[in-house]
Amino acid sequence: MNPFRDHLPGTWTIARFALIEALRGKLALAVVAVALLGLGLSAFLGEMAITESTRIQGSVLAAFNRIAAALMVVSFVIAGLTREQADKGLEMLLSQAIPRASYVIGKLTGYALLAWLTAAVFSAPLLLYAPPLNVAAWSLSLALELTLVAAAALACALVLGQSALSLLMVVAFYVLSRIMPSILAITASPVGPIDSPGFRVMGWVMGCIGALLPGLDRFASAVWLWDGAAAWAQMPAILLQFVIYLPLLCSAALFDFYRKNL
């Protein structure tokens, strides 16, 4: 008897319903609308540019789409999970013969599929400005980033159970993951009060936080749209980071979820 195989249909059903919930909840429509908004913004900036208009449009669109996609996935995951907890849907699900791990893994699978679909929609307009192979690298990296962000949102929503608090936590996680190298550079700067104990402690604390955060600063850089070689060269490191961090988020969510008294 293999418990994983036994519960696979249940896990897949949960994943499928998480995806269906997203599509029926008009998230798909919102994603397309925001992608079109980004396209309009970049077209407007392109009209204003005197030179390098394609690069300006592509760079701005990539940066806009990256943040918009992350925020949309995060807000959907958190809203869906907290609503389910408030509606007692979670209790109802777990009253069936479904282990808690199936629920978490099923939800994560559904949200990962959603993340990849969102990445595809937000990457498509970039084909107007950059070579397809470069866009493919950017898109793959964005999909991995969104999956990690969705997993972080899932963990926060399950642990905290409050939408506002969870949203704040995940946004802080996302922002810190993207800017941590700059923060670490400042803490290591000889211009700062390096000898001050407070500065040293802060530098050490930041170093610890940085070690626990994924290096999202390496993911989906707009520069890749014009430097495909650099993009694909970084892909192994990005994949490895993904492979390390996804189990971390997943196990953290599972650990807390198993301890939760529902």
Binding site: A101, L160, G161, Q162, L165, P181, S182, L184, A185, I186, A188, S189, P190, V191, G210, A211, L212, P214, G215, D217, R218, A237, L240, Q241, I244, Y245, P247, L248, C250, S251, A252, L254, F255, Y258, R259, K260, N261
Partner: protein, 258 residues
Amino acid sequence: MKRLLPILRVATYRDQRRISLVPLPVALLLACALVWQTIWAAMNPHPAQAASDLALPPSAASVQIFSLGEPLAWAKMANLSLQAYDNQPGISLPFKRLDYSRIEAWLARILELDPDGQYPLLAASRLYGAVDDPARQRRMLDFVQRQFLLDPNRRWQWLAHAAFIARHQLRDLHLAVRYAESLRLHAKSPRVPSWARQMEIFLRADMNEYETAKLLLGALLASGEVTDPSEYRFLSGRLADLEEAPGGANAARVGRKN
């Protein structure tokens, strides 16, 4: 307090089950993933990047838009990012390699958006102005003087420091006197200490301009601005030194003492 309990419950984890109920594979996976992540982060220092050029600062209008109407917050952040610019991830640039015209443009923009801020003037006079390159130092000192003229009573200390750098590091007495004169003429607030306004007198004595120094010192004493008796006595003594032997040993003593 009772109303707060549901919120506090999130933090206190009162309603959690025993840790032994967590399946062993989950706990092991969490521990292993934590170790992997820490090792990965330690093994994987942030990539060394080529030094990127410092771009020109955005216009005030752009900042207004992109900071969502919070230009002050942008200015404060810009201080830090400009300060960290010479330490880009994985690379440290000496100040001599920085483009000072752009540094100056950034400092000016930050001051434009945050006129009360002292940070850009500190950076200009004590950071970028401390570079071992007279041309760059002069550029920063001139920037400090131009900004001082826009708000003399709040920015006087940076021009005083500029005069100090001009006198002792650049060894350019004329430049130091120019800054000190600017201080005397424009920094009129009672909050500006008298030593700052007197700086010019002693610098002129250093330059052997005893007549001018005497005139300035006499005018200062006559103006009634010096109210501290000890300070008045000290300055009167210096004036007497100047009057006794202009160009002689006493006059030289006036210069040396300062």
